[in-house]
């Protein structure tokens, strides 16, 4: 089983030199910590390319936040732009990768991560745009919900964020690729048996 940090570390293997990447809120944000010396450029959909790390206390600036509303810092390479230009970049396929969280993922790559009818409404924010526009979509999430039920499903039960958009899912149990016929196990976390994954996964698993 992987911890949150280990899931982020695993997701960081997606990063390659020269990539333009958008990281979602939560575990995806942690992925940047594991980029190592790979030269990637982070996009923040509220209007920034070249997002830096959290600022030192004395550099906190209310006018400089990421899409998760957290204060951040700028880099030498940073540029700023309007929301419409930011999403032109996203929708137009200019970002190589987006790593996002999810409530549910289906075996056909459907994604649900923006609302639970009658209970919780977060809003889709930029997620629908990111999954429709980025070249590659990787989801990082717990394998099961707090009731122990699989979040990797045959069909999503919640309202979708996108249809057939997910390329890869990284959970605390392993790494799964969306392929024809279901999810193909790319690797399992240490100490996780194939049998255990099968019992904890509703989606069809393909070897």
């Amino acid at each position: 089983m992987w911890t949150r940090e280990q899931m982020a570390e695993q997701a960081a293997e997606e990063l390659q030199d020269g990539m333009y990447v958008n990281l979602g809120i939560g575990i995806p944000t942690l992925v940047a910590n594991y980029a190592g010396d790979r030269d990637i450029t982070l996009q923040s959909e509220n209007g920034m390319l070249g997002m830096g790390p959290f600022p030192f206390e004395e550099d906190v600036d209310a006018d400089l936040i990421n899409a998760g509303k957290q204060t951040i810092s700028e880099l030498a390479r940073t540029s700023y732009f309007a929301s419409s230009s930011s999403f032109a970049m996203i929708r137009g396929g200019h970002l190589d990768l987006s790593i996002l969280g999810a409530m549910e993922v289906s075996e056909t790559g459907d994604l649900a991560n923006w609302m639970i009818p009658g209970k919780l409404v977060k809003g889709m924010g930029g997620a629908m745009d990111l999954v429709a526009g980025c070249k590659r979509i990787v989801i990082v999430m717990d394998h099961a919900n707090k009731h122990g039920e699989s979040k990797l499903l045959k069909r999503c039960s919640l309202p979708l964020t996108g249809q057939g958009v997910v390329d890869r899912v990284i959970t605390n149990l392993g790494v799964f690729d969306v392929v024809l016929g279901g999810l193909r196990i790319d690797q399992l976390a240490p100490g996780v048996s194939l049998c255990a994954v099968r019992s904890l996964t509703e989606a069809t698993l393909v070897e």
Partner: protein, 232 residues
């Protein structure tokens, strides 16, 4: 022409507010919001508003203040965030909400300002966002038709402006502000500094004056929603 600068936020909005109107507001979370114009709108008591904005601020600041005062009938937004009043009024049915993908919302505002009544996007295809919208296939991929948005009034926040209405935004406080400025039948800006005409760097005027009808110099609280720092 009446000169564009006005003495106070309420004077900047004088004669522009009416019940049932549509207002587009720049800002993302509490970053780059026209906080003083929002206060003046709250104080005006105008109601039954349709508000177009990425989100609704927080419970006690930004557009959340208009929610709290029950002045908003409908939100056109992409995100609720940690605004419990927004979520509760929506779930209880007291507030109508039209959720838009963030990029679709931004593009709809730009389109409205640019005289484009509709455009196609793949964003939202296969989701509830696509319900009742025209679908069209281009080069083998399915897209949905989204409409341009025009607001009776747009309110925006800029860093620096001049009496011609030229605006420069600061860092990520730009966000939806330039798009909203374009989408307003009338646009009012609040700025931190009013510079003499010609003093703004011409290469960094993000909103040309033609889009701004009035502006007012204000002092912003600039509240921070999530202060995150790293160890020194």
């Amino acid at each position: 022409m009446a000169s564009k600068p006005r003495a106070t936020p309420s004077k900047a909005l004088e004669g522009l507010l009416f019940d049932g109107m549509t207002i587009a507001a720049g800002g993302f979370g509490l970053c780059g919001i026209p906080e003083n114009l929002i206060l003046a709108i709250r104080d005006s008591g105008v109601r039954d508003l349709t508000v177009i904005s990425n989100d609704c601020g927080v419970d006690d600041f930004g557009l959340g203040l208009l929610l709290d005062a029950r002045q908003i009938r409908k939100m056109v937004a992409s995100y609720v965030g940690d605004n419990s009043k927004f979520m509760n009024q929506f779930i209880s049915g007291a507030l109508e909400v039209e959720f838009n993908p963030q990029g679709t919302l931004a593009e709809r505002l730009r389109a409205g300002g640019a005289g484009i009544p509709g455009f196609y996007t793949a964003t939202g295809v296969g989701t509830t966002v696509a319900e009742d919208k025209e679908h069209k296939v281009f080069d083998g991929r399915t897209y949905i038709l989204e409409r341009g948005l025009v607001a009776d009034l747009s309110i925006v926040k800029a860093w620096r402006g001049d009496a011609q209405g030229n605006l420069t935004y600061r860092r990520t406080a730009m966000n939806f502000n330039p798009d909203c400025a374009m989408a307003g039948k009338v646009t009012v800006a609040e700025v931190e500094e009013l510079l003499p005409v010609g003093a703004l760097d011409k290469a960094a005027i993000h909103t040309p004056g033609v889009f701004v009808d009035r502006l007012v110099v204000t002092t912003s609280e600039k509240r921070i929603e999530k202060r995150t720092v790293r160890a020194a």
